[in-house]
């Protein structure tokens, strides 16, 4: 009975949400609602049947507390994730049904069109599928199937080297935002906090990833552009300087981590601290203080990426038309205004490209730097999402939980890429016109 109610609720919600959204895009309200109801029904069944409607299991007791404007409620984490999952799958179904409907209408119009030109193929053309088959098969075997397996693994209690597995619903996901042991508490505009979380370990790890991404991208790009501008000046030996500046990019993450560990080491042994002591200053706990450790990781990673960024920005600066700069000068723009209003818009496609690559690096490729520099410490201060996945999946061999984290990482990357294309893509100027 709860399962039927749950499905009906999903259907109703799907009808409301999808109906409203399709109405906004110009479709009819009733049609949208009907489509939403079907999608909600199918989405609920598609998501919940493999999960055996486990989110409704009264035995499930993974909760967290949420305070909004002083009101505290207890949220069942498994049910919440289950509901979000149903909504996402329902939305995917709605999109798919809508796409199919459009496709069917368009095809009907073509087939039954009276003035179809002679020679127009009106039957279903399978040839594209034949040509695509090798790629599709490759992707299916090596990408989609493992990805689907990962989703399945995320719902299991599973360990490397142990033959048995056990279904554990969405506990692996729920344990990321709460725990059976710790009372995770999230505050939104409550208790004097705009936003605050207690005992939310994964959220802290997530925060580290965001911190690294924002600052690595910022530092590596601001410095990259600045150095590129300097390196573009007509000075003697400019080519040698440019070549030398690219070198950090050729260094692997492991070497970067080790070099910075030697450079920044605490306890008086690091080169920088030795120098500070020599000059009469107190050593800085670069690797043993949580905030300094984060700064150290950002410095090491940004240095690693700097060479590549400089290379791209030098090329970008050379592509800025001289006439535009001259025209701006004649109009009275000083060097800073020319840089801000002419150079930056002209190199914006390059900035977009570099930011995109740097962001991916910050999220996915930091493991070697972090592992060799701070090992994720102190107290997890430099543990990011990828380090955590590797630690849990490889070092602890708890692959069910690691799979759940991988899926979260996957969703984050899709979201980030989408946002980046939406937000930054609009501000990019391609061409001089």
């Amino acid at each position: 009975m709860p399962a039927v109610l749950f499905t009906c609720l999903a259907s109703g919600l799907g009808a409301l949400v999808v109906g409203a959204l399709l109405r906004r895009s110009g479709s009819g309200l009733l049609g949208g609602m009907a489509l939403g109801a079907i999608a909600g029904l199918l989405g609920s069944l598609a998501a919940m049947i493999p999960l055996k409607y486990c989110v409704l299991d009264p035995e499930n007791h993974m909760f967290f507390e949420l305070s909004i404007l002083g009101q505290t409620i207890t949220v069942n984490a498994v049910a919440l994730i289950g509901f979000l999952l149903v909504m996402v799958v329902a939305w995917a179904f709605a999109l798919a049904i809508d796409r199919l409907r459009h496709h069917w209408l368009a095809r009907s119009a073509t087939i039954w069109k009276a003035d179809t030109a002679p020679g127009t193929f009106v039957g279903y053309d399978f040839s594209p599928w034949i040509f695509l088959a090798p790629t599709v098969v490759g992707l299916a075997v090596f990408t989609y199937y493992p990805a689907a397996q990962n989703f399945f693994l995320g719902t299991q209690l599973a360990r490397r080297g142990v033959a048995n597995t056990a279904f554990n619903c969405l506990d692996n996901f729920a344990s990321l935002i709460t725990s059976r042991l710790q009372d995770a508490h999230y505050y939104i505009l409550s208790d004097g906090f705009i936003w605050h979380a207690e005992n939310a370990r994964y959220l802290a790890v997530f925060g580290n990833s965001v911190f690294f991404s924002v600052f690595i991208v910022l530092v590596a790009n601001v410095l990259g552009i600045a150095i590129a501008v300097l390196a573009s000046q007509k000075i003697r030996g400019a080519t040698i300087y440019r070549t030398l500046m690219i070198w950090p990019y050729a260094v692997s993450g492991v070497v970067v981590g080790v070099v910075f560990a030697v450079l920044l080491g605490g306890g008086g042994s690091g080169f920088l601290n030795q120098s500070l002591r020599f000059l009469g200053f107190e050593p800085i706990p670069f690797l043993s203080d949580p905030w300094w450790a984060r700064v150290s990781v950002v410095a090491a990673a940004a240095w690693n990426k700097l060479g590549f960024n400089v290379l791209i920005y030098i090329a970008a600066l050379q592509a800025v038309p001289r006439e535009l700069m001259e025209a701006a000068s004649i109009d009275g723009a000083n060097a800073w205004k020319r840089f801000l209003n002419v150079t930056i818009p002209m190199i914006s496609p390059y900035i977009f490209f570099v930011v995109f690559l740097n962001l991916n690096y910050s999220f996915f490729d930091l493991y070697a730097v972090i592992d060799n520099l701070t090992e994720g410490g102190p107290v997890n201060a430099t543990t990011n999402l990828v380090v955590d996945v590797i630690r849990i999946g490889v070092e602890s061999r708890d692959i069910g939980k690691a799979a759940a984290q991988s899926i979260v990482l996957f969703i984050v990357v899709i979201g980030l890429t989408y946002m980046q294309f939406r937000v930054m893509g609009r501000r990019v100027t391609y061409g001089a016109d």
């Binding site: 142990v162 605490g266 043993s288 410490g377």
Partner: protein
Amino acid sequence: MKKVITVLVLMLVLAPPPTLTLAQDDDRVTIRFWHRWGNVTWLPEVVEPSFEAAFPQYDLELRVMDNYNHAYEVYILAQEQGDPPELLQGTSSNTQAPRDTGFFKPLYEAIGDRTEINGIPVRLDEIVGPAAIFYQLDGEYYELPWNASTPIVFANMDLLVEAGVAEDVNDFAAIPSTWAEVHEACALIVDRFDDVDCINFGASGWYFENAMAMQGAFMANNENGRDGCVTEALFNSQEAVDYLAWHKSLEDAGFWVDYGRSEYNITWANSKLAMHMTSSAAARGRVEIGEGNGFTVGADRMPFNQDVDYVGNTVGGGMILLTDGLDPEVEEGALTFLMFLLEPENMANWHKSTGYIPVTQSGFDYLEAEGWFDENPTFAVANHQLAESARVPQTAGAIFGSFAQVYQMYREVFQNILRNDADIQESLDRLKAEADLLIEEYNLLVPCEE
């Protein structure tokens, strides 16, 4: 023509040397041993040729892995692909999980009641102290203890003399051996030097495990799992709180300093660190750095709680696992190699190359007869410490499948106590609760057989 010559030259350069093909002998039985000792040249340069010379019917293939975790992970993959090596080096912090996989054959089953294999005596009954009970269940060996170590304190004796802790550089007895003595010595050292750190050791599970054993405390219920299945961790006992309170007091006083990866080597070499508590297996490295930088390296036991009776230390390091399901002649070859490693001369050379204790009494006697320990007293400390350790379940180490995973959690909890002043009892209660959950999950997948 130029192109043809270039191609020919390339073919000549890139072609494998003829000796490689000539060296193959199809009749030989291949014994593959995956280990993590890439930096110990003694294995490929001495052991491999001497084993193959003594037993020409075997072809020993050594493969170096990055670390224990990597070795085990790759081994599981090799098992899944149906081509595992015959022998794998495992770690002391991951004993039960490999046993539960069914991939490995207990050593006692493979050896049976034989007293020699291929003419080499079976020396399992000679294995010393806690190294013996650590890898035994009900008195039977599951794996071969090999690279066994124990935590000891290495000291820069020159610094200790200068600080007034020791009278001369050979006064190893002056190295603090109790928790209180560490405080006293550190107070003198910090007072004497502005830029010397007193003591460094890892905030890790191994020292915690040893501190518990030294105080006679169990890590898990049912006598560390030796008298029944582990269903509960006992990390929040008074003994655990006392150890962390001591560690925290060292940190608060500025006596204990946290270093990053490998940083202690630089600090140690520069005589900026007075004492370093680490694995006895680091003896070779510690001493060589001292010799290279002109200071004397001393060593003494891991400091213990002076307020309770000393029970004993536990071993760390690793062991060698034998793959199950091998052809009889291959298994015989693998066992031959294992027994070859336990030969007194090999045991002695292994110890000299690293600092790992000679796990057999005959290996120890061989070294003693040579006068090795008289000449190198630093290397004798680990054996003495383990010889003094009682053979009781507390020093045998806890056995439960998720032990390695729990090990990962220690570091996080300890750092939280040391760095963020987290309450010790509360942190340990939480650690215990999380460990209990992992034990419960593991027992769900691998039901415990009493």
